[in-house]
Symmetry: C2
Subunit: 148 residues, 2 copies
């Protein structure tokens, strides 16, 4: 059985409760209507991102959403982990590592050269998991964001 | 006169020397052939990124390349500054700030909700410039990257 399933429009009803659970956990406030409007483009196949269901397609236990961008230095697409969630009851069994280990090789077939993620500087256990999965910290850089 | 010009395929000969100058400055090694292969998709209008020439279109003094991604939380596209360069001789005249101040409003018309950039943690003068241009530091997060 495959661990990852590309989410399509008819997967919305399976995906939405997982996204709602992650948003509640992360303190992200988004109405059901806004969440549907945010997810549907991803499921419909926009070129800037993709979402995968984790686990059995008809009973997924998590999801990972990847945002695609373009890097001149790498000469191709790169990916950024936008959201990543696995339900409490199945966490701690190595499924997160397995997702991260299989994702880049899978994305590479679609031309993705590198995968980035953002981690809380104080969350050492997450950083260890990501290091084990082949991610290198870029401690000398800081992200800045403008939204207004 | 507009400060920013969307770069198209026939702008390649103006853009390439600026990118080569930035790469030399930043220690990025890329052959002329690889650089052309990396830039042409951007100029041809791929949906994951865009490049602007800065200054007069026939005699540009810099460029900024933006990578587009998709954020579920924001419910739309976001942008990441991939490369940003202004020639030495015109630096320090506020042109960089002006580019950063006008870019997000321009991109917003195309549905871009937020603009991110990565800055060296030790480069306080760049951080001040970005703060003046409306960028907020996200000091509590660290980037991690997997390329293999």
């Amino acid at each position: 059985m495959n661990l990852l399933h590309l989410a399509r429009p008819d997967d919305f009803d399976k995906l939405a409760p997982l996204v709602a659970a992650f948003h509640a956990h992360a303190g992200i406030e988004q109405s059901d209507e806004a969440r549907r409007a945010a997810l549907m483009p991803l499921l419909e196949g926009i070129p800037q991102g993709v979402a995968y269901l984790i686990g059995p397609r008809n009973a997924p236990v998590g999801y990972i959403a990847i945002s695609f961008g373009y890097s001149i230095e790498m000469g191709g697409l790169d990916g950024f982990v936008d959201e990543f969630f696995i339900r409490d009851k199945v966490r701690g069994r190595g499924m997160g590592s397995e997702v991260l280990m299989t994702l880049l090789p899978a994305l590479r077939e679609h031309g993705v050269k590198a995968l980035h993620l953002e981690v809380d500087r104080d969350n050492e256990s997450a950083q260890r998991l990501y290091k084990r999965a082949g991610f290198e910290p870029r401690e000398s850089y800081m992200l800045m964001t403008r939204t207004r």
